[in-house]
Symmetry: C2
Subunit: 333 residues, 2 copies
DNA sequence: AAAGTAAATGTAAGCGCTTACATTTATTAT
DNA sequence: ATAATAAATGTAAGCGCTTACATTTACTTT
């Protein structure tokens, strides 16, 4: 069944049917109603391919993330999908892993699929070597690119980020103000946002005239055990600390396990702060104080920006959203 | 740039270019190479719409789940996407929520998008009222439907499930054999698989001549606090129990929180078993004994089955995969 | 070398839509 | 009532592919 069947049954030309389909208002209300009811009667749905051929749009957005099974990214993918669908857009999900060549391949794949825009979720999409990011700038020549949680300057490239630097700065500063001065910072990545967070930590120390110690700033796999092990190694070397700030809840869980193993009381002897306020934060005992990085707001901004671009409105190329500290049982601030 | 540009530059007809594109072997090797190199040179990628119009396939699978931010479903979506891509298929993700009318709407949307098949992930897609499942049977008339973690008999409907009944039976039986006889079972849903799990619990009691107590079989929201509260209410009523088996890790976390609050030692006084072996199981102290429901195997079976259907091979309409008990600190078996 | 067959290539007709442009019909101004 | 204008509808030419069928070229067989 196709547009001809509908046009025949409604006694109009296919052009009129097409106009009804596309909400063109050069159709009399009477005709529109008749066509609509015929479509309904016939159970007609337009063929997306034929439509795409004419319109050259699929009403589909490509979503790329390194790994959608990651708790944080899974949430982001969920919210993005919801927002997109509310705007009548579909999404195609691509989990790229961390290899740059694979990211590039998927990017090309999405472009060849004629998606209308691409959302890159997560800070892992930006390399510190600019030439590795060329494929993004390249892609932006053919469609709008939205970056979630990282930023890259360029024509047709937009970003929405959480103000990670301020978030880590604030919580570190609060810890210091409430008496802590040996604060460990564990972070999972040296990505743009990873470094921002680190810089927030350093600025807070700086402001309070506390010297930064290299053994207190540790890069660590996003893994409960790795975090625990690192803290164990500090402890074994007789290096004491009174707070652990992390760039991900999983590391904070590891810190809590360290405390448990070594009979260190939380929060009396050790304060712990997570990041992202994921479900993990509510699993532990005591529950984690964590920085809510506002995924939902980030995702809705992301989609709104993209819709703005499609509507050829003026949209900000960079949005910064403030995080919120959720205080639970692992801190005494 | 289109197929004409390629054909012109390669000095062949568009039919030959199309043949190269589709791996048709009525093309001489020399010509194929020439065409291929021209494509490469021009950076040509075929237009998916035009292609779809002719082939009437998109090499795309629709994935429907109630909520991809759920830890378990997020994992499933991830593995499915990986497997599909390995088979050169894209996926369109739809998070439907739990309302039946919405599920139906998304199903129709996917069909109108001309996807080649639809995967329904999670037991929430089957209603106990058969007439509510009519839309699935209906959809199966136009494309193959794969159910992950539920089963429905019907033409063009296939399923892959974890053997939940056996899994819960085994662990309950083990708990009894190692001395527990007041075992609470908390479950999140009365879906097909939810009831299977419950039945596994009941069978284990039955086999060991332990009478089933209604207050020990409790339906409970998939929520840490709800599980804790229910156990608290039992405890307050002076009803004692020595083990809690659950249908989801989050409930087990709740059980652990209950024990903590009431100074009940785990596993000495109370054994706790989770389900799905998610990241949550490794966050708590002690860590959760949990049933690994084998998402990855389930997802690869799912995609393989679908590919078998497309290749018109004979495939089993129902696959059952055995779970595995991962023993950690919350049990003494 | 001619005839017969197989392999390689080309021609052209769709696939189901959108839309510029042409035509008809309805509305308004004179 | 008529001309001028606006609104509604129709006609037909694409969009970029696939593929049945026709044709040409290359290889066998006798």
């Amino acid at each position: 069944m196709n547009i001809y069947d509908v046009s025949k049954k409604a006694g109009v030309s296919i052009a009129t049917v097409s106009r009804v389909l596309n909400g063109n208002n050069n159709v009399s209300e009477k005709t529109r109603q008749r066509v609509l009811s015929v479509m309904d009667e016939l159970g007609y749905t337009p063929n997306v391919f034929a439509r795409g051929l004419g319109l050259n749009t699929m009403k589909t957005i490509g979503i790329m993330c390194t790994d959608s099974s990651d708790v944080y990214l899974a949430n982001a993918v969920y919210y993005l999908e919801q927002e997109l669908r509310a705007n009548d857009y579909d999404s195609i999900l691509c989990c790229t892993g961390t290899r740059n060549s694979t990211k590039k391949k998927y990017m090309e794949l999405l472009i060849s699929k004629r998606v209308d825009g691409i959302i890159l979720v997560g800070s892992k999409f930006l390399d510190t070597h600019m030439e590795e990011n060329a494929y993004i700038i390249d892609a932006a020549k053919s469609l709008p690119i939205m970056l979630v949680n990282c930023h890259l300057d360029g024509e047709n490239i937009y970003s929405a980020q959480c103000d990670d630097e301020t978030a880590v700065f604030s919580v570190t500063d609060s810890l210091i103000k409430s008496g802590r001065n040996k604060i460990v910072y564990l972070y999972t990545s040296t990505s743009q946002s990873g470094l921002k967070k680190l810089s927030g930590y350093e600025k807070a120390l700086d402001l309070n005239h506390i010297p930064a110690r290299t053994e207190f700033m540790q890069l660590c796999h996003k893994d409960i055990l790795r975090a625990k092990e690192y803290l164990n190694s500090l402890h074994a070397r007789g290096i004491s600390f009174d707070a652990v700030v992390t760039s991900d809840d999983s590391l904070a869980v590891g810190a809590l396990k360290f405390a448990y193993e070594n009979h260190i009381r939380v929060p009396d002897e050790l304060n712990i702060v997570g990041y992202n306020d994921s479900i993990l934060a509510r699993c532990t005992e005591p529950e984690l104080t964590s920085i809510d990085s506002k995924v939902e707001a980030l995702c809705s901004t992301t989609v709104n920006t993209l819709m703005g671009v499609f509507a050829e409105k003026h949209v900000p190329s960079k949005t910064l959203i403030q995080a919120e500290l959720i205080v639970r049982g692992t801190t005494r601030l």
